[in-house]
Amino acid sequence: MIKLTNEQLERYSRHIILSQVGGTGQKKILSSKVLIIGTGGLGSPAAMYLAAAGVGHIGLVDYDTVDLSNLQRQIIHQTCDVGRAKIESGRETINALNPDVQVHTYDEQVTAANIRDIIHDLDYDFIIDGTDNFPAKFLINDACVLMRKPFSHAGIIRFQGQTITYVPGESPCYRCVFNEPPPKDAVPTCRQAGVLGVMGGVIGTIQATEALKYILGVGELLTGYLLTYDALTMTFRKIRVPHNRRCKICGEQPTITELVDYEQPTCDFKR
């Protein structure tokens, strides 16, 4: 069993004091592996809190470069990072925050062809969906269900956010609740959407919390419940969602047995 160094005892002291964590729990965190898909509004705070917590291995998946318009909410990136690959900028922030963390980067968009390999790469313990589009969200759900991996789904738009946690064999999946990606004309274009920058902070931090609780094996996860957050009215709702027996991927007679790429609704808004 690894011994915590004096520096680690001090860095993680506020964790170790907690009866649900202790030195034993902190060692679990230090040997855990979390994959974060998307280093944007949700992935940024999730990655930073998990790095601060000492998650031993953090995988970052993103193919994009940092844009000036990202900085209003994607706090892992700095002004000087504009134009750089998000995974590189993310790696630098995490390394500066906590040298205990090893960052693994995947410079690609998740697809039906590569997502299994990415999750298998380190055999990640928990996956965080920090993506901003429905094809990726359904792909992550389907991959996690087929590979029996727990994950946290989340989405944010305008002043609203939602999140749900999936644990194989224990909870309904994202598809149990939402079935299919919405029709293209129902999805707001990025011109229409907009998002208050802090939304990713609130919801992404809840995703990080779920990852830590899963690693530690403490508390009750957001399984079987969809949590919604409305920042304008400051209302959280925890909505019970049942397992869908007719779910196409985790129902009694699943029709999805292979991963598929849904078409991404096009966005003609020039950044």
Binding site: L4, L9, E10, S13, R14, I16, I17, S19, G22, G23, T24
Partner: protein
């Protein structure tokens, strides 16, 4: 009294006194004994209480008359 492990926490202050003691106790089995050297003042006032709250038993307390105390703690002795 024979202890299974010895820990000196006179070089640290709250909350590291508790953190180091807690981690040292985690490495022991229930019933094993930790000998702890700690400073007078805040550590001796608070640490034994915190350890009792966590279910450990203070078996013996001695004033070393040099500004430090020695206590013997039985892991899980109160559970």
């Amino acid at each position: 009294m024979n202890a299974d492990e010895f820990l000196d926490i006179t070089d640290v202050v709250c909350p590291m006194t508790f953190v180091k003691t807690k981690v040292a106790l985690e490495d022991l089995d229930d019933g094993q004994i930790l000998e702890l050297r700690l400073n007078d003042g805040e550590p001796i006032q608070n640490l034994p209480r915190s350890l009792k709250d966590d279910g450990h038993k203070i078996l013996e307390l001695a004033n070393n008359a040099d500004g430090t105390f020695t206590i013997f703690v039985e892991k899980g002795g109160l559970t």
